[in-house]
């Protein structure tokens, strides 16, 4: 039963990304062509509301569902991994128009060809694991 809340949050996430068309290859193309505000609006609103929420969590020391103080962890410091990893990710994102969340959402929606993207993404993750120690971070 403790997992049902995750199922419901995931369900909401899947519905929102589908209904706002953030899962659409077309919307990602349109975004990178600067021909619509739609995707920028989604991302900026999410960051605006998200940062307000996180500020409130931090300043009021809000407790989580288990009664422990919520800790929003900082990302590790670094340069190369963020720049190079980011650019590689961006190339893939614009190429097939999906990031990891939408890969699963579209597969669930019945677009079987996305399975090829998923295989690629799992393979890419695996390759990173293999070469991790040889890469600059």
């Amino acid at each position: 039963m403790k997992f049902i809340k995750y199922l419901l949050v995931g369900f909401l996430f899947g519905v929102v990304l589908t209904k706002s068309e953030a899962v659409s290859w077309y919307r990602i193309y349109e975004m990178f062509q600067f021909q619509s505000f739609h995707m920028y609006g989604i991302i900026m609103t999410a960051i605006l509301i998200g940062s307000l929420g996180i500020q409130i969590i931090k300043s009021k020391k809000i407790k989580d569902i288990n009664g422990e103080e919520i800790i929003v962890p900082d990302k590790e410091k670094g340069n190369i991994r963020y720049w190079i990893g980011g650019v590689l990710f961006g190339l893939g994102w614009a190429m097939v128009g999906t990031c990891p969340g939408p890969i699963f959402i579209l597969l669930g929606a019945g677009f079987l060809s996305i399975g090829v993207v998923l295989i690629g993404a799992v393979l890419g993750t695996f390759l990173y694991g293999v070469f991790k120690d040889k890469l600059p971070h």
Partner: protein, 185 residues
């Protein structure tokens, strides 16, 4: 019903995505979809050979459940909450796409030329999907997160590393969209 079946406004979507992230924070977790790809690798038992996959992925089962919920959500939205009004692109975008030989959306989320069933006969399209996936998987793990972990969660928490990653996402995306896609189609 139209307010549900038509394209949702960006402000509504942005608000609800932030709500998803904050709910996960409230559950004591952190929003991030690409770590599920690492869990999928670890499930195969490859951790015995590659130490990166030898970690406590079972502590991340909650995130797999989120993804399963998202898959149901996608199915529900496509089959019960959608009509033919969806994906109203900028008309200029459609002209541009048609010029590249990519079909107009007409309510579809994905172009047939890249995602339709006929791609089984097109090694080129299968390669595009596979290489795109490879870049997404490799890049997100190298950068330590994807659109959800960096662009939404990291930026909301004013993380400089996430800003670097997101600028990287856009540099890569712009190069692909403006210079490489026109060569591929």
């Amino acid at each position: 019903m139209e307010i549900i079946t038509h394209t949702w406004h960006w402000s509504v979507a942005g608000f609800l995505i932030a709500a998803v992230m904050l709910l996960l924070n409230y559950f004591g977790k952190v929003f991030g979809m690409s770590s599920n790809l690492r869990s999928l690798c670890s499930m195969t038992g490859v951790g015995k050979k590659v130490s990166f996959f030898d970690w406590n992925w079972k502590s991340q089962i909650w995130n797999i459940i989120v993804v399963v919920g998202a898959m149901f959500g996608g199915f529900f939205a496509v089959h019960f909450l959608s009509d033919f009004s969806n994906v109203n692109l900028n008309p200029q975008t459609i002209i541009q796409l048609n010029g590249m030989g990519i079909d107009s959306p007409k309510g579809k989320l994905l172009p047939n030329v890249l995602f339709g069933n006929e791609i089984v006969q097109s090694p080129k399209m299968i390669m595009i999907l596979l290489i795109g996936g490879l870049l997404i998987g490799f890049g997100s793990r190298y950068a330590g997160g994807c659109t959800s972990g960096h662009a939404i969660a990291g930026m909301s928490n004013f993380q400089l590393p996430s800003l670097k990653a997101v600028v990287g996402f856009f540099i890569g995306g712009l190069i692909m969209s403006h210079f490489i896609l026109p060569l591929l189609f």
